[in-house]
Amino acid sequence: MSAAALTPPEAARWAARAGLVLPAERHAAVAAVANHIHGVVTVLRELDFADVPPAAAYRAGEAGEAGEEKRDAAV
């Protein structure tokens, strides 16, 4: 296990910080899956992003169009 890997109690605490209370019997399994996901996505830290923005950057003119529509979700 790498130094960055979460232990089961740490996974439970991180989940609690996110507002998700995990039953004790799930701590180990969630930690294992979270560590696996971390191992996959951490490779992105190798990239030199310089000033590259995230792809989610939006165009304000188009946002207004969508924003005028009635939304189902309560806000």
Binding site: V30, V33, V52
Partner: protein, 472 residues
Amino acid sequence: MQPYELSLTAAADAIRARRLSPVELVDSVLDRIEKVEPGLGAYVTVAAEQARRAAGEAEHEVAQGRYRGPLHGIPMGLKDLIDVSGMATTASSRVRAGHRAAADSTVAARLGEAGAILLGKTHTHEFAFGLTTPQTRNAWDRGRVAGGSSGGSAVAVASGTATFALGTDTGGSIRVPAALNGVVGLKPTYGLVPRHGVTSLSWSLDHVGPVTRTVEDAALVLTALAGHDPRDPASLSVPAADYRPGAGTDLTGLRIGLPRTYYFDHVHPQVETAVRHAIGQLEALGAQLVEVDIPMTRYIQATQWGLMVPEAGAYHEGSLRTVPELYQEDVRILLEASELMSAGDYVRAQRSRTLMRAEWARTLEAVDVIAAPSVPMPAVGADEETVTWPDGTVESVSDAYVRLSAPANITGIPALTVPVGHDSAGMPIGMQLLGRPLGEPTLLRVGHAYEQTRPARALGGQKQSVQFNELA
């Protein structure tokens, strides 16, 4: 030949010419459902009476000279993430018990307007978060996975229990089951087909598209689906278009990219042979093959996961706290673990996507289409969880099935899977054609031209080849 065996195109021609009535077609498909659906499990719900009533109305309209177009009277299945007014959208999940959609999704409304007839809702891997669809069995071998997440849609089309269907694709969920069941699947350009009223897995990766028996069928469905809808913030403003490909098969002047990297790595040898043979057919039709290097391959899975996992976690945040026990274990644990990812992980994935889109755009300046396998191996046994490659690498089945699909989800480019043969066990193999953004006409032209070089394909599980294009 029975009406349920017809391609959409052939059925439409027969209905327009009044050689076939929508009632005959719908009855034939419903009879087929009665016969084979119990062994396949493609459908969550079959609305037989509603379909028969709609077929009667469609027949009446044709008799009155009110022909709506090629989808008039054509029976379809919709993946059960797609809202249809008054029906449950179950997402194949207990979490959605008691659900009832208040209105049609944009795609259901557009297909209804075009005259298509809803047979029922097809199974998805729970909330589209998986690649196998365990409720459903492969149309060619019931001991093997259907693929997913649009497994029900692909199996229905492959087995004759829907003339066409819709799926959704976030990391291959249209193309994977289409390839594993020997049918055509199109993931359109991101934003071309509106997703309003379709349950999301990952907003920035989700697409809706057709699953059909031929490329021409996919073009007819896309023509009805495409077009701007401001209720989907990603929806593109593009003019209406007729996507039906021309009859010609001459590909002279077309440059087809043959990947030197990534797409043929860790691929089953029989898949590689079949796809390379199909690419040879494209060359024989006049296309020029150009070798290409796939950019940023080391970061594809990381980018896909960095986008999909947190977005899925966000969508399910509420129900994961109130009814976590109602999720299947494989989905629940991914949603729980998603909450432990950092904002930095997500933003890095979005920045990686920016780089990847630019690199792919450069690659696609040199070629018109890239041709590659759709999935690295045919359908595996339902109880298999990993695949071991000849160099000893062990890969989960889900990771393997996503691997060749993810680039088109990350970059938003269109991708089409077309059947190109079978392995020695008789399981279907698919070739993937990838194009430039809004390059659907080129993909459909190439796919259609390829199909003209092949004998008619059989429906799943039928020993004899079935001609899709004519009534007996």
